[in-house]
Amino acid sequence: MSVLVFVDHIDGHVKKASLEAMCYGTKLAENLGLECAGILLGTVSEDLAGLGKYGPKKIYQVKNESLNQLEARLDTKVLAEAVKSSGAKVIIFAHNPSGKAIAPRLSARLKAGLVSGAVSLPDTSNGFVVKKNVFSGKAFAHVNVTTDIKIISLIPNSYPITTSAAQAEVIDLSIQPDSPRVKTGTVSKSSGEIPLTEAEVVVSGGRGLKGPENWGMIEELAKLLHAATACSRPVADAHWRPHNEHVGQTGITIAPNLYIAIGISGAIQHLAGVNRSKVIVVINKDPEAPFFKAADYGIVGDAFEVVPKLIEAVKKMQGIS
């Protein structure tokens, strides 16, 4: 019996959210007295045995290039067979676009209860209770899973990555997938190199920045901090920034280690998407801006004066100038 982690990949590399999921699965397996294994559909360029350093003892691979692209219906069937053959009791996904597509399907197929958007390890002292994000970050729910097989999708950046020198045993699973009913096509990447949902640091701008032409300093600061960029909803609605940067209750929910909000008022719908960030910095010229109540550090001042100085100070600390 095992805890099975879905190892998601893109462009030949395992996603960071899946490394977190492997560490999470390993700890859960240890708590339950089970073994942790990973399952990868398709092929990647990295050495799979090396994934053992994130904890799994085994990595199952269904080596079929047609599985490199997501097709939730096919992937679910393949995973359901893998669950059976590996005797998995708990299956872990990252709560990312792939996880959101496959985990619910697998749950319905196996009649296995799903907790999506988990933020910590299950409490198994009385049932199998998983803490999850609800009300878009404004609260948590503790959800009990009553079925024999259980599925969890873990919010990226919720569980720390730790490594050891261990190697995993790589096992080929020969499962023949059906033919796909969805043709996956062109991919367009947004400008930022770091996906917003995986970023540890996020620099975000609001309407206080006045216009898209002023985003240069936001991007420069983000680059220095290896951060992703984000924005408030009106900024995306006005097409100052792309839709996929819009965070909040009706945009993306993120939980980076550091969220820097510049010229954003901190409306309740914005806070909902970001208030699980570990540390929040707010730069706003209005001392009464509601965001300061949710912040750890703040500067009351004009962004056009403060941010250039901040950039200089970061460069100085990093020894760039």
């Binding site: 893109i10 939730a72 219906r73 676009p97 959101k100 597509a101 985990a103 619910p104 399907r105 697998l106 749950s107 319905a108 009649k111 296995a112 209860g113 999506s116 958007g117 049932g127 209770v129 803490k131 999850k132 009300f135 878009s136 970050g137 404004k138 609260a139 948590f140 729910a141 503790h142 009990n144 009553t146 079925t147 969805v182 996956t184 096509g185 991919v187 367009s188 996906p195 917003l196 640091v201 995306a236 839709h243 996929n244 009706t250 280690n257 550091l258 309740i268 909902a272 707010v282 912040a295 750890d296 550090y297 703040g298 500067i299 009351v300 100085k309 901040l310 200089e312 100070a313 600390m317």
Partner: protein
């Protein structure tokens, strides 16, 4: 061609989130309810646009809810749609809800099922995928663009840090998010006609929920903001580096 749009209700985005009964129940007193924004602004509006282009298309709305959701489903009908179906049950968990929707979708032989990306109260992102699996249909999730030509659908969907464009065939299940359509305001004509559109109430099919909420919890309050003078951002950098150890 028949489209089914899944509509759920959620507390207004400014509602105070609090719990009663030893944190076992959401405190609904004084809470205003709205149509889940992803269902209203994107899934429903896109379906209405499709119908505007092809008036022969049949557009039905479905909600799994008790009678107190009727005002919400009427509000959705005011935006558009021919009729609504309410499966008369509490939405116990995602699987329970999905099973109800799948049963209706199957017997009604719908070609296209739209859901929102997620409910903004439970944040499951689950119901659409479950419905698709129960119907053994393809599922494209997190759609930011949706085009229909004959029986071919072309859908752009969110992936990490970008988008991917996929192609599929009807019948299919699609979950919708920002980009698919633009929010609309219902007009007077819509509001009047919604009153006379059929709202069918059907009994739920018996299914067991797979999960249950045992308790809620509010996040801990922040300790209070540490302010740094505007002329000294270097101090902020020092704090983030030395105290928070984040940069």
């Amino acid at each position: 061609m028949k489209i089914l749009v899944c509509i759920s209700k959620t507390p207004d985005t400014t509602a105070k989130i609090a719990f009663t009964d030893n944190n076992k129940k959401f405190a609904t007193e004084g809470v205003q309810w709205i149509i889940n924004p992803y269902d209203e602004w994107y899934a429903l509006v896109r379906a209405i646009e499709l119908k505007e282009k092809d008036p022969s298309l049949v557009l039905h709305l479905i909600t799994v809810a008790t009678a107190d959701s009727d005002p919400i489903i009427r509000k959705a009908l005011a935006l558009g749609g021919d009729e609504a179906i309410r499966v008369n049950a509490d939405s116990q968990d995602s699987f329970y809800v999905a099973s109800q929707i799948a049963a209706v979708a199957k017997s009604g032989a719908y070609d296209l099922v739209f859901t929102g990306k997620e409910t903004i109260d439970y944040n499951g992102s689950s119901v659409g995928g479950m419905v698709a699996e129960l119907l053994d249909l393809p599922y494209i999730s997190l759609a930011t663009k949706f085009e229909l030509a004959g029986t071919t659908v072309t859908v752009t969907r969110e992936i990490e840090g970008g988008e991917e464009t996929d192609e599929g065939q009807l019948p299919i299940v699609v979950s919708c998010e920002k980009g698919v359509a633009e929010q609309r305001i219902p007009n007077m004509k819509g509001i009047m006609s919604a009153r006379t559109k059929p709202l069918k109430v059907v009994d739920p099919t018996p299914v067991e929920a797979l999960t249950s909420v045992v308790a809620f919890e509010l996040p801990p309050a922040k300790a209070g903001v540490k302010l740094v003078p505007a002329d000294n951002p270097a101090e902020l950098v020092r704090l983030l580096h030395e105290e928070a150890k984040l940069i």
